[in-house]
Amino acid sequence: MVYVLRRIGFFLLTLWAAVTLNFLLPRMMPGSPTDAAIAKLAQNGPVTDATRKAIEAQLGVPDGNILEQYFGYLHQVLTLDFGVSYTFYPQSVSEMIWQAFPYTIVLVGFVTIIAFILGTLIGVLTAWKRNTWLDALPTLSGSFASTFPYFWTALLLLFFAGYVLHLFPTSGAFGPTATPAFTWDFFMDVLYHAALPALTILITSLGGWIIGMRNAMINTLGDDYVTFAEANGLKGRTVAIRYAARNAILPNLTGFGLALGGVVGGSVLVEQVFGYPGIGYLLFNAVIGQDYPLMQALFLMITVSVLIANFLVDIMYGVLDPRTRR
């Protein structure tokens, strides 16, 4: 019981520190949200004193000293009301997040799961066919692709598949004239628009899963129960899947859990390049625009979801690994 309380206390402490850091980080950046807004306007010509004052008044930032702001922020966190976004003024933070959330989940969530499953399967294959071309090819190309800079892959795909070959749309989460609705057509439209960003994430993340699974499986292939299973004349496939792969997947689950936790944060660069209206896009613009409220809410969301993902991985472990049960 003491142990459990200790864990919970630790969790809460981490959460509090993360929340506080989320508060402090944006404020460490030089310049205020007003400065950011003015800098944006200044690109269209000189900004007068009056405009500055109006913007400052419209944003209403920053009111009170840092401590008051902090307590106000804590209150917001507790009530989950993060106020009004600065960059997307006068929309509220929760409005923006709700708008972006589904697309990010569809895009990044889907791809992360697919990449994990695909990468794991290929990893099993490479470990089983070790030292053949079936190992060398996926391993090499996987590790190569995983070293592609995200934005670079995105730009090249965007250019060639989007602008040169016209295979896929080049921006947005759905067609410019479509209206969001729960229809099959709209869903297909969304998938069509998610294709290129999804491909980018897939290309750059697949390699990691392949290598991770390959290494884990090569390890389990050397374990005694695999030798014993072979000594007992089990079929190759049974040994590969039920013995070696089944055990090798366990350590990779941790990574998968963290990746799933990261889904909520979206994929900042990819969403930015493809103009995909997800959380990553919001996050980037919030940071660039010094949008304290939006940034705080997003950071909090990401932090909590990573913590929760960690927790879920623990539970998943319990289900998949009888050793942790008892």
Partner: protein, 553 residues
């Protein structure tokens, strides 16, 4: 053995790939414009509302986050051409200055709101009172000048606080909203105004988060002048989109414009008029920049042609030291100032000026009186590519006379903060603008002067001179254009001699347009409006454009 064979194979594969890559690299890919055929000939595809694929219906014209098309819906009392400062009467038929503290607007008759209601002088007064009541909406700062507003028949009389003639130029820009709608709005400072009712040429059509359309207001008071039936404003307005998707009008810097925008479609044209003077802004409140000789030396040391060329890929020219934008403001120019105000590079004169300021060139290094090398930092905003290119060129040129400069590149917000608080040695910045008085006032007036460390709203270099202030006050007090021009000449002379900032090159206004569907765009020959898609320029342009002759019928 097998090992070495496979290695050889591998190496040959790598070599092969690199050869192929080299070959491919030599053939570049030409991008062609492929307009959407479903867009009819009377519909304009316009890249005006930048970037975000999360468009929200915000047409409240006073919010800084409004949709750009809000200024196609709401109109000001006069429309201004920022190229030369010309005011075109708009909702006000006529603007008269009774004296230096009274503006008389004759309100146009026969204008209706897009919902059919009649536009009246009361709407104008209501608007002014609205932005007085909610100062957050007073984005142009009209009430810094206004004492009171009253209706007099079809006139609206604005009483100023002081002799302040140039204030009319600011006040006239206020966008007028309908009283019958806005009077019921509870908190207009956060109201989104999703279905705006305005007097302008367009009303909002279909709206989605990635694209919206504007439809022609058939009852527009200049309806006969507007031939465009629809506008389409997509969110996707990257340069790639602009070139490939057949936009009719875009406002965007375009590298190698002939090779990209120009090459994509034979009807693609561009016009890049000057929109301001990009300058070095020394911090005059910080030694040694209070020394005018030093500033002179710096100005004389620079080759502005090269700087302009590097910064704008040769699109824009060098700028003069007067802050005027030539040729559009030629009429304003003080003829006594030599060479149109352009300071020519003159190494000897520069060295002489430096010497006078106490700096000498020793063994290829510029040193001060105590023998310490003279170095300084230049602050620019991260991501302003042309500014950075310019500074890099400046650095090269100054290195030639033994001055080493460092470049600071905080994020735009950080840059804004730095120049406002005087936390810099020399910064990049702009000066000038269409309205001569506004430009000089914000550049030179000690009204904006504060010490380093305090927030300066303007006059970032912290210039303060009683004589200049007196001139500015005189300018405010007169309504005589000849007198104004004469004062303007004196102000030009001050900027030319005192060098509060050091002009380098013209910042451009990056107009891209296509003449296949619409003609009558502003050009260098007919600079009736800057090619920008925001503020009041579009009103001037929309009312000038004609449908092109269909296929030479």
């Amino acid at each position: 053995m097998t090992n070495s064979k496979t290695r050889r194979k591998r190496l040959s594969v790598i070599a092969g790939i690199s050869v192929v890559a080299m070959l491919i690299s030599s053939c570049s890919i030409q991008i062609k414009s492929e307009p959407d055929p479903s867009i009819p000939r009377d519909t304009m595809l316009i890249a005006a509302d930048k970037g975000s694929p999360m468009f929200e219906k915000i047409f409240n014209p006073f919010l800084f986050n409004k949709r750009v098309a809000a200024s196609y819906v709401y109109e000001p009392l006069t429309a201004v051409n920022v190229l030369d400062g010309t005011q075109t009467p708009w909702l006000a038929e006529k603007v008269t200055l009774k004296d230096a503290r009274t503006i008389d607007y004759t309100i146009r008759q026969g204008v209706t709101w897009s919902d059919g209601e009649k536009f009246t002088p009361e709407d104008v007064v209501f608007t002014f009172n609205l932005i007085k009541k909610y100062p957050t909406l007073d984005v142009k700062g009209a009430w810094q000048h206004i004492a009171s507003v009253e209706v007099d028949g079809d006139h609206v009389i604005v009483h100023l606080k002081d002799d302040d003639a140039p204030a009319a130029d600011v006040i006239s820009l206020t966008l007028i909203v309908p009283e019958h709608i806005w009077k019921d709005v509870k908190s207009p400072d956060t109201w989104r105004d999703e279905n705006p009712v305005g007097t302008g040429p367009f009303t909002v059509g279909n709206f989605s988060s990635q694209q919206y359309t504007m439809d022609k207001n058939q009852d527009y008071w200049q309806s006969d002048k507007v031939q465009i039936q629809h506008l389409v404003l997509p969110a996707a307005t990257s340069e790639l989109d602009i070139v490939t998707k057949g936009f009719d009008w875009a406002y965007s810097f375009m590298s190698n414009v002939e090779g990209t925008w120009g090459a994509a479609n034979p009807d693609n044209k561009n016009w890049f008029p000057p929109g301001g003077v990009i300058s070095l802004v020394p911090n005059l409140a910080k030694a040694p920049w209070d020394n005018v000789d030093l500033r002179k030396g710096l100005a004389l040391a620079l080759d502005r042609d090269k700087i302009a060329d590097a910064a704008t890929e040769g699109y824009m020219g060098k700028a003069g030291q007067t802050g005027l934008m030539l040729p559009n403001q030629e009429a304003e120019l003080n003829p006594e100032i030599p060479n149109d105000g352009i300071v020519k590079q003159d190494a000897d004169a520069a060295l002489a000026a430096f010497k006078k300021a106490g700096y000498t060139l020793v063994n290829g290094t510029m040193v001060d009186a105590s023998g310490k090398p003279f170095t300084f930092s230049v602050t620019t905003a991260n991501g302003y590519a042309d500014w950075l290119r310019a500074i890099q060129e400046v650095r090269k040129q100054l290195a030639a006379i033994g001055i080493d400069i460092t470049i600071k590149q905080p994020q735009p917000a950080g840059y804004q903060q730095a120049i406002q608080n005087g936390d810099y040695e020399v910064a990049m910045g702009g000066m000038g603008g269409g309205n001569v008085f506004q430009a000089y006032n914000s550049l030179l007036s000690s009204e904006f002067y504060v010490k380093n460390g305090e927030l300066a709203p303007s006059n970032f270099q912290r210039y303060s001179d009683p004589k200049t202030d007196a001139l500015l006050t005189q300018y405010k007090e007169t309504i005589d254009p000849a007198k104004q021009l004469q004062i303007s000449h004196q102000l030009q002379k001050i900027v030319y001699d005192q060098l509060p900032v050091i002009g380098l090159y013209y910042g451009g206004l990056w107009g891209l347009y296509n003449t296949s569907k619409f003609t009558g765009w502003p050009t260098a020959e007919d600079p009736y409006a800057p090619p920008q898609t925001y503020d009041s320029s579009p009103l001037l342009i929309f009312t000038k454009l004609k449908l092109a002759n269909k296929d030479g019928e």
